[in-house]
Symmetry: C2
């Protein structure tokens, strides 16, 4: 069996197994993704980022850019886009000499995204436009009810401003959001605390997952809402439990800026991989 290269990386604590498969030789089954993402029996990660040339895969989204981000959740299901994952993906391409740090397009199931490396070493990804929900939602935290701002990035978010994010308490269970018909497919909930002009702190409950260390689209939703609440900074700093992100808005277009870390680079042991590949 040939060697299978894998890397581990993260963006603000959202962690991934990278699987370089430029020529589309790996058939990525659900079982293999789950095995790779298993934190005890495998490598461990929130998902797998398979790096494949668009020309080497049949995925209909693999178009408009040289490389396609084949992103899978830890259970093997396909995912659209990930603002933290795509930065790690882009860093991999840059470090391999496969893309220019000045800027590159990457095809994803959420469309083609533009990514560039900043002089700080951080990576910035264009996240498109946010679209507000034309109604006020309500989120229950403990036995208090807060008004929430609904926004699609394009996945649904409900943004709640609080005096202190720690007061939101444990977020292991999904907060109740009403009226339900506003978010028929469920909703991610962000709790936001203002630190200073242009600077907030947030915690997030991701639908179907629970509280997470970071959420790229959540940070964009928060920055968008912060600006609509009277903060006119073009660049909003968003502290998440896993680190710091920045969101810039120009002509309605959001750009998510943050670290892209690669931890280790290696190969799967043949014995272990033989069960999956």
């Amino acid at each position: 069996m040939r060697e299978v290269r894998v890397l581990k990386g993260h963006g603000t604590g959202n962690d991934f197994v990278l699987l370089p498969d430029l020529d589309g030789e790996v058939e990525l089954t659900d079982a293999m993704v789950a095995a790779l993402c298993d934190r005890r029996f495998g490598i461990g990660g929130n998902g797998v980022l398979r790096v494949v040339r668009s020309s080497a895969t049949d995925d209909p989204s693999a178009t408009g850019a040289e490389f396609f981000m084949d992103y899978r959740n830890a259970d093997g299901s396909s995912a659209q886009m990930c603002g933290n994952g795509i930065r790690v993906f882009a860093r991999f391409l840059v470090e391999e000499g496969l893309a220019s740090p000045e800027g590159m397009d990457i095809a994803t199931r959420g469309g083609v995204r533009h990514v560039r490396r900043l002089p700080t070493g951080e990576y910035a990804v264009g996240m498109g436009q946010a679209r507000g929900v034309d109604a006020v939602a309500s989120v229950m935290v403990g036995n208090r009810s807060y008004p929430a701002i609904g926004v699609h990035v394009p996945n649904p978010h409900a943004v709640v401003f609080v005096t202190s994010v720690s007061a939101a308490g444990p977020l292991d269970r999904a907060p109740e959001v009403s009226p339900e018909h506003l978010f028929p497919e469920g909703v991610n909930v962000e709790f936001v605390e203002r630190i200073a002009p242009g600077h907030v702190r947030m915690r997030v409950h991701e639908r179907g997952v629970g509280e997470t260390l970071s959420c790229g689209t959540g940070a964009c939703a928060v920055a968008w809402a912060v600006r609509r609440q009277g903060d006119d900074a073009m660049r909003i700093r968003v502290d998440v439990p896993g680190g710091t992100l920045h969101v810039e808005e120009r002509d309605g277009e959001l750009e998510l800026i943050g670290p892209a870390v690669i931890v280790a680079d290696g190969t799967l042991e043949a014995d272990w991989a033989a069960a999956w590949i």
Copy 2:
């Protein structure tokens, strides 16, 4: 900075970062161990197994064998021995051509241990003798009280026989064990269900950790207790949540047998490692 090699492996779900450092060039700080073991920001593991020649370290336990298992818990603290970790450690030595699969001695903080590879590919490690506690302990599970057999391997265990291990309920909190003076340093608690002669299933609460997928000394404690409860099988199969172990007893000496899996082999990224090494 030179390249730092790391591997990830596990024994019945007890997982480790292996750090080959044969010539003792790495100063393994608590912060570096914690960074390596962090499941989101690092590699992820229950602990680090540094592989070092006994001649290349000042550790007073590094004597009596060519290689020393410098085993650290995920918080960086030194640990004595680990029946699951030492099998992975031994497999590494064998695969590197540094030890014979027929058998090798390995120095640990719990003394020199003998390990050998079996024809099945499993690894067997001599765990020494168990010493029973000369009193009956009592363990509370929910609102029921069960008698428990106390045994040192040499760390303390309380073994409770139950009709069904699932009936023990969630083990996220430490079961109450009395009388307290029997185990002044705390105690690991095993719940054991008989499946067939020579075959049991167990769940374990490790002191200071919580419920775990596996515990090598726990499996030894259980097998020892099973034999003292009338099962005369020389070899006891112990199913743990993370897989299957076997324990053989000869002249009072226990041998722990189980899988040793290496998942991946690679190097730390220089940028990431620069913060720690």
